[in-house]
Symmetry: C2
Subunit: 469 residues, 2 copies
Amino acid sequence: MKSKNTMPLPVIPQPVRAEELPGQSNAEVITAGNADPALGTEGYELHITPTSVTLHANAPAGFFYGQQTLRQLRAADGSLPCCRIWDKPRFGWRGLMVDVARHFFTKDEIKHFLDVMAAHKLNVFHWHLVDDQGWRIEIKRYPKLTELAAWRNSIGFGLDPGASRNYRADGRYGGFYTQAEIREIVAHAASQHITIVPEIEMPGHSSAALTAHGELTCSGNPCTTNQDGGIFHGIFCAGKEAPFEFLQNILTEVIELFPGQYIHIGGDEVPKDNWKKCPHCQQRMRNEGLQNEEELQSYFIRRVEKFINAQGRRLIGWDEILEGGLAPNATVMSWRGVAGGIAAATAGHDVVMTPFTHCYFDFYQGKVGQPKAIGGYIPLEKVYEFEPVVPEIPAEKTHHVLGGGANLWTEYMPNYGHLQYMTYPRACALAEVLWSPKESRDFAGFQTRLARHTKLLDALGVKYARTLD
Amino acid sequence: MKSKNTMPLPVIPQPVRAEELPGQSNAEVITAGNADPALGTEGYELHITPTSVTLHANAPAGFFYGQQTLRQLRAADGSLPCCRIWDKPRFGWRGLMVDVARHFFTKDEIKHFLDVMAAHKLNVFHWHLVDDQGWRIEIKRYPKLTELAAWRNSIGFGLDPGASRNYRADGRYGGFYTQAEIREIVAHAASQHITIVPEIEMPGHSSAALTAHGELTCSGNPCTTNQDGGIFHGIFCAGKEAPFEFLQNILTEVIELFPGQYIHIGGDEVPKDNWKKCPHCQQRMRNEGLQNEEELQSYFIRRVEKFINAQGRRLIGWDEILEGGLAPNATVMSWRGVAGGIAAATAGHDVVMTPFTHCYFDFYQGKVGQPKAIGGYIPLEKVYEFEPVVPEIPAEKTHHVLGGGANLWTEYMPNYGHLQYMTYPRACALAEVLWSPKESRDFAGFQTRLARHTKLLDALGVKYARTLD
């Protein structure tokens, strides 16, 4: 069952099966009931006739996605074409990551971002809450994190100060979410059938936390929230006990705020120099029989995983957590290409694919006529070519690929308009890669549908990018 | 008579008088007849009731502009609000200049550009057809101009070659309009009530012409079409007779192609070094009693003006033509601020205001999140503050201010999407400045109308800029 029409139904991501029928529907009422069990919890069946709209699904998520399809059909044409659709997602993890540390986005901006994700049937919001440049989540036990570590002297990154409104009365740049705001966002995400995966970076990319709590570094000297990008030496000491207590106390509050299964602990880009020079770390290595600092990092992550598992949650981290030995139950987010994902899946670990080759939405999306970006080049077509299940993963292990996502590192996205510009329409392509059957992929057809889909983006107030050519 | 509604009618430029009435109109038929003589040839009266749409005007231009208003009303709402409008323009010259030398735009792109201008009631398309980087108009008598001078080795300006498709089979960048294409564009402009003012640069910014006809330089050595920006020494010799014959022959063909009153001869940014060293030029100065090279440039322009006037046309040039003494009937386009316009109007010459402070649309329109531009900063609000009639012009001379325009120098606009991005929405603000009464200017109201007007821009396929904040 394929569309008989040369103009495919304007739905992104495209449904598994869709048949356009003659006529338009005037029906207002949606009747709904149980559906084909093969549709699972997220799938739906939709049948539109001139006088009726019938939506079947097995669970609230399926009804929600059927309604998103209806909304797209209506937005594209201003009317509802008669059709029959049977639809379910290819992957269960369909994600976008937003870095709110390099630049801060308000509660209402995050809620709008979630709304637009949901309209594309994306269901995982990976929230990069802390980094060297700022700490963005209120922790009741450690108020200095938001009093001090949420702020830096300037917007940074060589940007015009006027690019943002997120300044404190004293002129410092930054911001944070109170726990009440986080609960509001989590509830809003749930209403949009989106799970939030909070990320608390450790042991590196921690300059902000270590600005407020300098006693947790190897030397005991505090850091300063960074105003530029890079890999810094703001890392937790792995020899002292205090950093583990501190992080466990933080994770306790984080776990209470976020009901989802996964807690992301970062784990990427940890320079080991501090640890090599630190008597506490070297003592820990001798005590634990660790051969090198990679194994010390592995010790760090395993210990944190033990704590997270004890709370009934699962740990996920960037692919560097493979180095020195992967924690026993960890899920790997593969960003340095797909090699980490292949290694982890082959070893029987779950993986989420976010390779920088296809999924780094901080890279340029056009060769000319684009605002300054961090580098790279990932046009829409490249995103559309993204394939999370690579042939190097043995067939019997491919079920470990939960899905994929794109990452919005915000060094050069100082405001929400810019974040949207870098996200869309590339996230439309990503949504189709992660939802629709691999065999139905067709970039020309996608572009045809996208040309009509922009009406919905306009209606949602999305400042999507247009190629200037 | 002002709008009673808090939401003003979504018309840009806003009408002189507009009253919103209760209800929507379902009327399809437009009846039209003669109007208030005070409306002149471009004004119109529009009366929309639930059952009728009545448009009155004195001339085709007025009917055309009334229809543009109807189109805007329909596009913004999808329905037609009842209203009564009385409208006419403040200035007769409402222009946009496009430089097709630095980068080339195709015939169809120029026609689309004209369509969008007309939708904003802009009526002068100033076509910068030649410059150091390329000669873009077929001249039957001098085929080398398009065989050689229309092409350069690369796209230039440090841009990615992929930014354009305007390459010849041998890989050279450029292009030109045949005379048949120019006639088609001129006819299309006429259908949109737009006059085209062709610009043939002289005596400077002429490296392209002098690539093909090197014998017309002071030294007799040819130039090379430039691949970067700047002020070059590709200037015609003012001492030899051949350059005058050459330019007169070109102007003869230009005048035959373009029926409008004005011929633009450039005249800006002429470095005088060549002339100072040239025995032909020095001999000319002695023969004509010219004190310095500025007077030699004035001699050059006056001589060309004499030829243009003899063909029944008027000469217009950039404000440098004031230096060394203005040609007797010349109109001045004031770009280096408004000083040239003040001097010319005070001396009784007509002027068109295009100051780089408000009207250079090659400048940045936002402080961040913008593609690379040549420099400067002219946001939408700044354009809206543009006032062509400055207080330094004596009241009895203000009628010499014909109007104004904005200039799109295309060094960093390698393709049509980018040209549109730099033009809109700033040209919406320009249109309102040049059409609507000065006393009705209201930037907040303009922004409100613009938010609805973008529906028409979308429908017209305009890649307008959106501020990323």
